[in-house]
């Protein structure tokens, strides 16, 4: 026996005989065929096969036999002991033993190549007969077998794999519907326009698609008979294939004490925290990234083979760029990078030819292709792919990207800011700290935020954080939570609103109980605001979902005191009110009286227990200067006094503020009105700005800000009367309130939709909702209550009380 002849040969054990495991064996043999005594475990009862060709097996273009990579004889010839159909159940790292059901094997080096398993969403009905995942040869056979004689199939998940499954099912003569939760198909690889083109293309193939649809339940007693969606609708289904993503197989590693995060954590040498244990493939996480395509795995196995055999003990794996082509017959699609992750400074090059269903889009960042998608015609794909992988500069004439790709030249170096450079100014977090977190596997903006607090203040540095993740980890991980309205409930806003209405959830705690997957203060604040706008007076107001500012109706300051800003409509006050404010400032020894940037007077340093008294003495309503609500309407002097003024800016400002006071929004909202284009009220950097024109009209523009971000408004429309201005602004505000994500300012919301679309909806009533928006404005105006009135009647114990002093008992 070979083993007897080489008693000293180190023992290499590989767990997993899939794409990565088998490739590793080949790479190891290529480096040094006689270095190790090799044993491999695979829990599938086969030699190894090419998993990515399973779709061909399903659609009948290839026979299962044709996709085997290495026959059993290959293992034998190379002296590899293969335990096919044997699952590794336990590892003893101390004794360096790997246990299968009924035996154990010793190792000197151990490699995890356990891949992943399909993610089955937690919806009722998944155990029914006729419900399948799509991962293994057996799945493939079972699906094909079950499909015989069936009529309808539903594929849950409109990603790459889901579409392959759908196409495969078509060949079995079943009618297929693909259901996708995101608003369009293949949302990881495509933007909205691309998703639409793809939808068209597959519709032409005879596959129905329902995007933006959440599956609620699989129906049936023994066998699945239908699928029910979150909106209550149902469709019949004789079978269901679930393709909703994957989960790495890392439990075994975790159980034996190997460090795992989302997957098994490995370093640049694919080594885990145990120097004798390694990992490759879909079961590992390198620099926070998990790769679900084979190309990266092959880069990994190559490095690991060198490291293991000592062919190049210093070889390192530094991450991969992801690019893929869809293999669905009849659909030409190539994708590289993350197309949806667009930064404000990115250049977008786009070409579309709807008649042929051709859509090309490339995103250029720092002069290089950072992402692209090509649909319908893949002529430029290879050149683009090459530029993408090489990180080579794109041609100066961007058109050449698509019509003749430029030649690869020198690589531009990464943004080399020093580690001490401060990225997050709110929390004082430096680049070095963030990079360390990213290297520690925090590869989403929220994850970095959680670990370092970067980006958790005003949020204006989030794009920088994202850029760093890209630079360090090679890509921001797909993070489904980005589309959620708030972090604690895994639903986007439309689904959340629908669920809340369907279930009649009227309090934050009810929403968290029924739909929540967590809890945090920002989510509660967001839910409170949303519920209030949905239910109005029926909303059950729980004070523990409010931030302190909203509990005591004043802005908390760094020393725990509060500031009070009396409502001064339009910034116009009177001598009486000024005197009153002065008296109050004196009476309560207000340490600082300040004019704010919004033309209001701020009384700073007021103690909590003095708040009711201050308000009573002032007798003016709350300035709402701290809320996610309408704050101030800034005005200029206008036609009343200014020699240039062409219209009554103060009058309109006061009317706007009176009408919209107390309106709550996903973020703060500031307005301004200027009496002529000299724009003294700085209306072009407000959420809504109004400027009187020479012709006697009002120009209404939206989406501006002069805070952490500076953005100029975009013109929405011109109106001739004050009433029209009030109406159109009211519509815009309600539309924003109901459709923006929590904490999304108008300067993100407007460009996200595009000003043309906003104009279509608000001005031209393209959706036919303007009347409903008007009704909502009236409802909200009517619901306004000055929260300062709580001064007379605290709504909970101790609302405006100072700390209670309790003496220690005398012993």
């Amino acid at each position: 026996m070979i083993r007897a002849l080489h008693p000293q040969k180190p023992k290499l054990v590989v767990i997993g005989n899939g794409m990565a495991g088998a490739r590793l064996l080949e790479d190891v043999l290529a480096c040094d065929p006689s270095r190790f005594d090799i044993t491999v475990f695979g829990d599938e009862p086969y030699g190894n096969y090419n998993r990515i060709l399973l779709s061909n097996v399903l659609n009948g273009t290839q026979d299962a036999k044709e996709i085997f990579l290495n026959p059993l004889a290959w293992y034998e010839e190379n002296g590899i002991t293969l335990h096919a159909g044997k699952r590794v159940t336990k590892i003893d790292r101390e004794a360096k033993l790997v246990y299968a059901e009924d035996f154990s094997v010793e190792y000197d080096y151990l490699v995890f190549a356990t891949g992943s398993k399909p993610f089955i969403p937690p919806i009722p009905g998944t155990p029914l007969h006729g419900v399948f995942a799509f991962r293994t040869l057996d799945d493939c056979r079972n699906i094909a077998e079950y499909a015989k004689g069936r009529k309808t199939a539903v594929v849950i998940g409109g990603g790459l794999l889901g579409l392959e499954a759908a196409k495969g099912l078509m060949t079995h003569n079943v009618e297929v519907t693909v259901v996708e939760m995101s608003p369009w198909l293949m949302s990881v690889q495509l933007d909205e326009a691309g998703g639409k083109v793809l939808g068209q293309t597959i519709a032409n193939l005879g596959i129905k698609a329902r995007a933006g649809t959440v599956t609620k339940e699989l129906l049936g007693h023994m066998n699945v008979t239908g699928v029910k969606f979150a909106d209550g609708s149902e469709i019949p289904a004789d079978m269901v294939v679930i393709s909703a993503g994957i989960r790495p197989n890392s439990e075994l590693a975790k159980e034996c004490g190997i460090t795992c995060d989302k997957a098994i954590v490995v370093d640049d040498q694919l080594r885990t925290n145990d120097p004798a244990v390694f990992g490759v493939g879909e079961c590992v996480q390198h620099n926070g990234m998990i790769y679900g395509l084979v190309a990266p795995l092959w880069e990994q196995t190559k490095v690991l083979a060198k490291v293991l055999t000592g062919a190049d003990a210093t070889a390192t794996y530094t991450g991969s760029k992801i690019a893929t082509k869809l293999k669905v017959m009849g659909v030409e699609l190539a994708s590289m990078g993350r197309i949806n992750d667009l930064q404000p400074t990115d250049e977008v090059v786009q070409f579309s030819e709807p008649a042929r269903q051709v859509y090309w889009k490339a995103i250029i960042r720092d002069g290089k292709v950072s992402a692209a998608c090509l649909l319908g015609d893949l002529a430029p794909a290879d050149d683009l792919m090459r530029l993408f992988h090489a990180g080579a500069p794109v041609p100066d004439r961007r058109l050449e990207l698509f019509f003749t790709a430029g030649s690869a030249k020198k690589e531009v170096s990464l943004a080399d800011l020093p580690d001490s450079h401060q990225i997050c100014d709110c929390n004082g977090v430096c680049k070095g700290t963030i990079v360390t977190a990213i290297k520690g596997g925090k590869c989403t903006v929220p994850a970095v935020g959680k670990a370092t607090r970067a980006g958790t203040g005003c949020g204006s540095c989030k794009t920088l954080v994202k850029g760093l993740i890209e630079a360090v980890a090679g890509g921001v991980k797909a993070d489904p939570s980005e589309s959620w309205f708030v972090a604690a409930v895994p639903l986007d806003k439309p689904s959340l609103v629908a669920e809340v209405k369907a279930r009649g959830l009227k309090s934050v705690s009810a929403v968290l109980r029924e739909l929540g997957a967590g809890d945090d203060e920002k989510s509660r604040n967001g839910l409170a605001s949303m519920l209030k706008s949905i239910w109005g007076t029926e909303y059950i107001d729980e004070r523990d979902s409010r931030f302190i500012n909203d509990r005591v109706h004043a802005n908390i300051q760094k020393d725990g005191t509060f500031s009070v800003i009396p409502r001064i409509y339009g910034g116009i006050t009177t001598a009486e009110d000024l005197i009153k404010i002065g008296h109050v400032a004196k009476k309560y020894a207000v340490p600082m009286v300040k004019f704010t940037g919004g033309q209001r007077i701020d009384l700073l340093g007021i103690r909590k227990e003095d708040l009711p008294g201050v308000w009573a003495d002032l007798g003016m309503p709350s300035g709402h200067a701290y809320t996610k609500a309408l704050r101030t309407v800034k005005t200029c002097v206008g036609s009343e006094f200014c020699r240039y003024g062409t219209n009554d800016s103060t009058g309109l400002g006061i009317d706007l503020e009176k009408r919209f006071q107390g309106f709550e929004f996903p973020a703060k909202v500031k307005l301004a009105v200027s009496g002529c284009p000299r724009n003294c009220a700085e209306s072009t950097v407000k959420d809504v700005g109004v400027i009187a024109t020479e012709g006697g009209e009002w120009e209404v523009s939206v989406g501006g800000a002069a805070g952490a971000h500076v953005r100029k408004t975009e013109v929405l429309c011109r109106v001739t009367t004050k009433e029209d201005a009030l109406r159109v602004i009211g519509r815009f505000l309600i539309y924003y309130r109901d459709n923006a994500k929590w904490l999304e300012r108008t300067y993100d919301f407007v460009p996200r939709l595009g000003i043309e679309k906003v104009r279509e909806i608000i001005v031209n009533d393209a959706l036919g909702i303007c009347a409903a928006l008007d009704v909502e404005v009236e409802k909200t105006v009517a619901a306004y209550v000055d929260p300062w009135l709580e001064r007379d009647q605290p709504v909970y114990a101790g609302q405006f009380e100072d700390t209670k002093r309790v003496p220690l008992p005398v012993l």
Binding site: E521, D544, I548, R551, G560, K804, V806
Partner: protein
């Protein structure tokens, strides 16, 4: 060293708003007391170690007290902070008997 502790009567349960905190000063020591939605009562230091935020004005998320100023979180049972760089706070044993809330604080 032996620490001497004493049990002090604080307030009635009705004095604590559900899910919210109230500030106390027990023998000169600032303490934030929270009543959780499940009826638990937590008592922790009243001042945040970060920049002295008044924790009684914070929010209670599950069993964590969230500082109102910069949102550092502290475990209501142990006082541990969720950020490595920030030291935790002192948590005090509480007890509710017949609707009266007691807290145990060190004597010194």
């Amino acid at each position: 060293m032996t620490a001497t502790v004493t049990r002090v009567q604080l307030c009635t349960l009705a004095d604590l708003p559900t899910g919210l905190g109230r500030g106390f000063e027990v023998g000169g020591r600032p303490i934030a007391v929270f009543l959780g939605r499940e009826g638990q009562v937590f008592a922790v230091d009243g001042k945040c170690p970060h920049k002295s935020g008044p924790l009684a004005d914070g929010m209670l998320i599950g069993e964590q007290v969230v500082c109102p100023l910069h949102a550092f979180r502290f475990d209501g049972n142990s006082g541990a902070c969720d950020q490595e760089s920030v030291c935790g706070i002192q948590a005090y044993a509480t007890e509710v008997r017949d609707g009266t809330v007691f807290v145990t604080v060190p004597l010194s």
